[in-house]
């Protein structure tokens, strides 16, 4: 049995003018137990709506969704007994201390005070919260509030965990700690489904991903499968001692998927290996090439290609 099985999920909203908006358009995917599944896509793609349906916050328009074998529509309470969620919006008890935040969250999930206290130590260490345990989140920074919100889910042992943009607002150090904790939880058998804008994070964490755009899944599979989805993207990094403006114009003639220029460094993503080599020889011909690197494209390049399908220029 899969931890999550979604078949033909559709969610429509009625706009104020009476027309229908199809936020999620007939998507299907499943998630293996103990794996980390990433739901990626631009803002408004339908990721959060999908999570809201799967966590019983909103009903679907149609489709069949099972969480640990329980039907989201017909058995919402059983579904909620099997999951915990970090929502995209900040959700902490701002008037209660961090300790009381943990205590109330644990009690809502059926734990006794002693069970909560026993588990709290590990969570406090993991998220470096010892110094703020007796402070109220209303007095804490946004990043710490987010840490408290994410830390809560590590207090309970629900088999399925939903993380909607969980690391948003965290500093790099805490992001690393959170990513490590998520991976550890998956190794302990919990199933994690996450949405993120940080594609490096998804690439690093996820066993499988689905890229969603305009409510539809445009690519899905293991992270490697998605990267290899026939797109054949190649990433070229060039570093020059000195770089003229005409070089960018010359590279643009190769119709790159993406090109970023910062000072004397150029990052180019192209669709064919031959194009990458042609750009490299062009770069060499300038006589100012200091360093180069060619690799297959990152998940971010694939993501941009799938969502945008056009080249972009900008500063990294």
């Amino acid at each position: 049995m899969k931890a999550i099985d979604v078949q033909n999920l559709v969610k429509e909203y009625r706009r104020t003018d009476g027309t229908l908006l199809r936020a999620v358009d007939d998507i299907s995917f499943s998630v293996e137990r103990g794996s980390i599944f990433g739901l990626l896509g631009p803002n408004g793609a339908g990721k959060s709506t999908t999570i809201k349906v799967l966590t019983t916050l909103i009903p679907p328009t149609s489709g069949t969704m099972l969480i640990n074998g329980y039907d989201v529509v017909r058995q919402p309470l059983d579904v909620r007994k099997n999951l915990c969620v970090v929502l995209q919006e900040n959700s902490v008890e701002v008037f209660l201390t961090v300790r009381h935040n943990f205590l109330t969250f644990g009690k809502f999930h059926g734990m006794t005070s002693s069970q909560i206290e026993a588990k709290m130590g590990r969570v406090i260490e993991l998220f470096d919260l010892r110094e703020v345990m007796n402070q109220k989140p209303i007095d804490l920074s946004g990043g710490i509030k987010r840490r408290v919100q994410v830390a809560k889910i590590f207090l309970v042992d629900k088999p399925v965990v939903f993380l909607d943009e969980a690391t948003t607002g965290m500093d790099t150090f805490n992001k690393r700690a959170t990513v490590a904790a998520i991976r550890e939880e998956a190794q302990r058998g919990r199933t994690i489904i996450l949405t993120t804008h940080t594609l490096e994070e998804a690439e690093e964490l996820c066993n499988a991903i689905a890229i969603i755009n305009h409510g539809k899944i445009v690519a899905g599979g293991t992270t490697d499968e998605v990267k290899k989805m026939g797109l054949q993207l190649f990433y070229l990094s060039l570093k020059f001692n000195e770089m003229g403006k005409e070089l960018e114009e010359l590279i643009q003639k190769f119709a790159p998927v993406k090109i970023d220029i910062v000072n004397n460094e150029v990052s180019v993503t192209v669709r064919e290996h031959g194009l990458a080599l042609n750009i490299l020889s062009l770069a060499q011909s300038t006589g100012a090439l200091k360093h180069f690197e060619i690799s297959t494209a990152s998940l971010e390049d694939v993501f941009v290609e799938l969502i945008d399908g056009k080249s972009t220029t900008g500063d990294r």
């Binding site: 909103i58 009903p59 309470l77 909620r80 900040n90 008890e93 009690k107 809502f108 999930h109 059926g110």
Partner: protein, 253 residues
């Protein structure tokens, strides 16, 4: 039950973080009774005619104070949904392993516990300071009716809170509703002498039913047949409100 208690525990922690809030929660009905009631008692002199009998205004007004504090407590508790919504925690609550009904019941139970202290304080002051002849034998029933009042109004106002997403709109709607419901009821004055049209409208108001039942239990004013009908009416109002509050909660996201 465990889930209901978890909600009560959480709400108790929140309330204890503000002693000012707690103080005014307890003191407001008492202040109404001592200031408004005493002032009016002097102003109307010989008292008011209710159900054909002359009663001191303080005696008459006690039930009004109790039902008013139920309504006020229910407004505060329903407004809490907006605070929770602003903090984002409201939506997280809805992903916790409990039914929508348990969530609402927990909120209601907490407010009822608060009302017990509030009612005890008000009734003690009524007897000791104002010398109102409260029927002590019917005190357990009075407490039950106070709790039913909080439950009924809390569920009814929750429907409004779940349907309206903006707290400023909620405040405006509730202020108007509060004003109309209070003055088109038997809370401040007996309905014996008011124009017929006003009396008919007032008897369609659940606040009148609740106030009349409390008045009957505390100082014995009212006919038992009318009180039985009003008790039935308010009970139906409570259960219908609970049903619709659950439906509204399911659709609130």
């Amino acid at each position: 039950m465990k889930n209901v208690l978890a909600v009560v525990y959480r709400d108790a922690l929140i309330r204890l973080t503000s002693l000012t809030w707690l103080f005014f929660d307890m003191a407001v009905p008492l202040l109404y009774l001592l200031m408004f009631g005493v002032g009016f008692n002097k102003a109307v002199g010989l008292g008011v005619i209710s159900n054909g009998a002359s009663v001191a205004y303080n005696d008459f007004f006690l039930a009004g104070v109790l039902s008013m504090s139920c309504f006020g407590s229910a407004i505060n508790q329903a407004y809490g949904f907006f605070v929770d919504r602003d903090n984002g925690i409201f939506y997280e609550f809805l992903t916790y392993p409990m039914t929508r009904g348990e969530f609402l019941l927990g909120k209601m139970v907490f407010q009822c516990v608060m009302s017990l202290a509030q009612t005890a304080l008000t009734l003690t002051a009524a007897v000791v300071i104002l010398g109102i002849p409260v029927n002590v034998m019917l005190l357990p029933l009075t407490v039950i009716v106070v709790m039913a009042g909080i439950a009924g109004w809390f569920f009814a106002l929750s429907i409004v809170a779940f349907r309206i997403k903006r707290n400023d709109t909620f405040n405006t709607v509730i202020n108007v509703a509060y004003f109309v419901l209070m003055f088109v009821s038997s809370m401040f004055y007996p309905l014996d002498a008011v124009p017929d049209w006003l009396r008919y409208i007032s008897y369609a108001n659940p606040l009148t039913w609740h106030t009349d039942v409390l008045r009957y239990l505390t100082v014995g004013i009212g006919s038992s047949a009318a009180i039985a009908a009003e008790t039935f009416g308010f009970t139906a109002f409570l259960f219908i409100s609970f049903w619709f509050a659950q439906l509204a909660l399911k659709k609130t996201v």
